[in-house]
């Protein structure tokens, strides 16, 4: 049986710059982290996985289905959803409306259902509400359901992005620096939540993260990108002591272990 998610030889060029060079990445289950210095191509990889950018070469399959050529909304409908590094909520909509937009690809109502306001519409909307509240409950935002998203504190906005992504009922979740700007406690709570999601819902998660403590703690596997190339992959401990990784990502050899721990 094919892996849940399998990317092979993904290459992306922006003009003369090669952002990604023949990157392979496969995931069956659990949490895989992608790390690497700024500009290593991590977010570009996400943009390709979710159909926002077309890749120049390579292939990506999800549950055995080729993703290249599909629109972002089709990919979301298949069961891949993401969050963004620089939070991209629907700022002037309420918290619960943000989550409801996330459910868009799971709504089977047509224009006529909406205009006629029949029982099907009422049932669906009530069901959507219930599910949205449950999701907000999971990320701890149920009390803010009717607040405008723009007014939430930073950490809450990140958690709302997570709830919005979960609303599309993904099998694979792509999180782009979910703990950026969070306090240590908040980040810890979020990681526990991610673990829960993996256990409860059987979600597979790909995580882009700079916070090494988080990466080492939560990942089943770590992939290191540098200048668009995969330079290491394996269990966190192994990757952490890889000479190329230390040189490329963590800086000079001598002080690397301490710096890694502090970062």
């Amino acid at each position: 049986m094919a892996a849940l998610f399998d990317a092979r030889g993904v290459t992306k060029r922006f003009g003369g710059l090669t952002a990604l060079q023949a990157v392979d990445f496969a995931l069956e289950s659990g949490i895989a982290s992608i790390i690497g210095p700024n500009g290593a191509g991590k977010t570009t990889l996400f943009n390709i996985f979710t159909g926002l950018y077309p890749a120049d070469e390579g292939s990506v399959t999800f549950r055995g289905r080729a993703l290249f050529g599909l629109r972002p909304d089709q990919i979301t409908a298949l069961g891949i959803c993401r969050t963004f590094q620089n939070i991209r909520l629907f700022a002037n909509m309420t918290v619960i409306e943000n989550v409801l937009v996330g459910m868009n690809s799971r709504i089977a109502l047509g224009l006529w259902d909406v205009l006629s306001h029949g029982p099907r519409f009422a049932r669906t909307e009530a069901d959507l509400s219930t599910r949205a509240v449950a999701l907000l409950d999971r990320v701890g935002l149920q009390a803010n359901a009717n607040d405008v998203a723009r007014n939430l504190p930073y950490g809450d906005q990140r958690r709302l992005e997570l709830a919005r992504a979960l609303a599309s009922e993904p099998a694979l979740l792509l999180l782009d620096e979910p703990t950026a700007g969070m306090t240590r406690t908040e980040a810890g709570a979020l990681m526990r939540l991610l673990r829960e999601l993996v256990v409860d819902l059987g979600l597979a998660i790909i995580l882009i993260e700079h916070n090494m403590r988080v990466v080492m703690e939560v990942s089943d596997r770590v992939t290191v990108l540098d200048h668009g190339e995969k330079i290491a992959e394996g269990p966190p401990r192994e990757v952490q002591s890889d000479a190329r990784v230390i040189e490329a990502y963590l800086g000079t050899r001598g002080s690397a272990p301490q710096r890694a721990r502090r970062a």
Binding site: T76, L89, F90, M93, G102, N104, L115, L128, S129, A143
Partner: protein
């Protein structure tokens, strides 16, 4: 009964009395409109609000029309523009797609009935026209569909454009439709060019209603339907998808919103309201020519949406009312009044107004005052008169 309930009822009663006793006074009619706004905004029970507005619009307004037919014409125009503003509100206010050529859809609707509802169609098809007046009702839907399809045709090439670029292309589209209407009198005479089409058939008015009242009621009915459709769209996954596109197109796509379908749907819905009103407009006017569908009209409707409050249904209706009444009554009344002062030779600070050069003709201030009002509004209340309020979702299990 609360104080507000008494006040609201009294306001409607007194202002309609005022209009009845002084049917020529613009101020009395403005008081009547103000009373309706008060009823809408005041904290009164819903049954009273609906009741008062219903009585005022269904009974008092036609009665006022019997005293002064021009007021009914104003109310009808307000209704037509309210429907246009509501349609544009979907495109601009909800989906965030700036459309500067919106009146083109109005033109498409108007010409679809004008051609077949007048003897002009004989020029194209040989004979058998005009269609009987009852066909008008069918053409309300024909106009709706033709405009919706035109909306989709406009939408397809501009899907990749945003903001300024989209605005420029839609502006061009609006002009193209007007220029087509102006020039399609050859090789086949479709639109009769700048001379326009007349006479356009009207449906037989039921119950022997005069046409003023008939069109007023028909416009009112269409506006009510349009408001209802607008509200249902807004409170559904479709409306949420539109707003998500407005807020962040890229995030919306990534969250599973089918961008192409939703944008086309927004263009089609917005256009369809203009199309249906276009059909009605051509029957009401009996005569149409390309002059009715200029760029200025598109901008006027946009001004209504922005003035009222983008993305807000009551805002669009109020914006349409304010702009229409300003243009048809307040500014005209003002320049008439100034003219009277001038003709009477009133002196201000020792200067006789009669000596004013013709360049300072009061009628020439009208557009300027309108412009100043728009500028002041945008400075002091950029969100519009009745900005869109975030809907609070009823969540039973959340009561704290």
């Amino acid at each position: 009964m609360s104080l507000y309930s008494v006040l609201a009822t009294a306001a409607v009663a007194l202002s309609s009395l005022a209009v009845a006793t002084a049917p020529r006074s613009v101020l009395a009619f403005l008081a009547f409109q103000g009373a309706l706004l008060f009823v809408y905004l005041a904290r009164i029970p819903t049954w009273l609000r609906v009741g008062l507005l219903g009585v005022a619009l269904l009974l008092l307004m036609p009665l006022i029309g019997a005293f002064n037919g021009y007021y009914l014409e104003v109310a009808t125009q307000v209704g037509i523009f309210a429907a246009l503003a509501l349609g544009l509100n979907i495109v601009v206010g909800l989906a965030g797609l700036l459309d500067l050529g919106y009146v083109a859809f109005f033109a498409v609707g108007a010409y679809s009935w004008a051609i077949f509802g007048s003897p002009h169609a004989n020029v194209i098809f040989g004979g058998g026209f005009p269609l009987a007046g009852v066909w008008f009702y069918a053409f309300l839907f024909v106009g709706l569909f033709v405009a919706a399809i035109t909306g989709i045709l406009l939408g397809l090439p501009v899907l990749r454009l945003h903001g300024d670029y989209l605005a420029i292309v839609t502006l061009g589209f609006g002009e193209v439709i007007r220029v087509l209407a102006n020039n399609l009198d050859k090789p086949i005479n479709l639109t009769n060019g700048p001379k326009g089409i007349t006479p356009i058939s009207r449906p037989p008015a039921p119950l022997g209603l005069p046409y003023g009242e008939y069109f007023y009621f028909l416009v009112l009915l269409i506006v009510v339907v349009v408001v209802l459709v607008n509200r249902r769209l807004e409170d559904s996954h479709i409306g949420r998808a539109w707003e998500a596109i407005r807020e962040d197109e890229l995030a919306a796509r990534a969250m599973g919103v089918p961008l192409v379908r939703m944008k086309l749907l927004a263009f089609a819905c917005g256009a369809s309201f203009a199309g249906i009103m276009g059909v009605l407009f051509s029957a009401k006017q009996v005569f149409i020519n390309p002059e009715s569908f200029t760029f200025l009209e598109s901008i006027g409707v946009l001004a209504m949406v922005i003035l009222g409050g983008m993305g807000s249904i009551p805002g669009a209706v109020l914006g349409a009312t304010v702009v229409t009444v300003l243009n048809l009554q307040v500014l005209k009344g003002l320049s008439l009044w100034l003219n009277e002062l001038k003709n009477a030779g009133v002196t201000v600070l020792g200067y006789s107004l009669a000596d004013l050069p013709t360049q300072f003709e009061p009628a020439k201030y009208e557009r300027m005052i309108f412009g100043v009002i728009l500028v002041l509004m945008m400075i002091f209340r950029p969100q519009g008169i009745l900005p869109a309020r975030r809907r609070q979702r009823e969540l039973a299990h959340l009561e704290r």
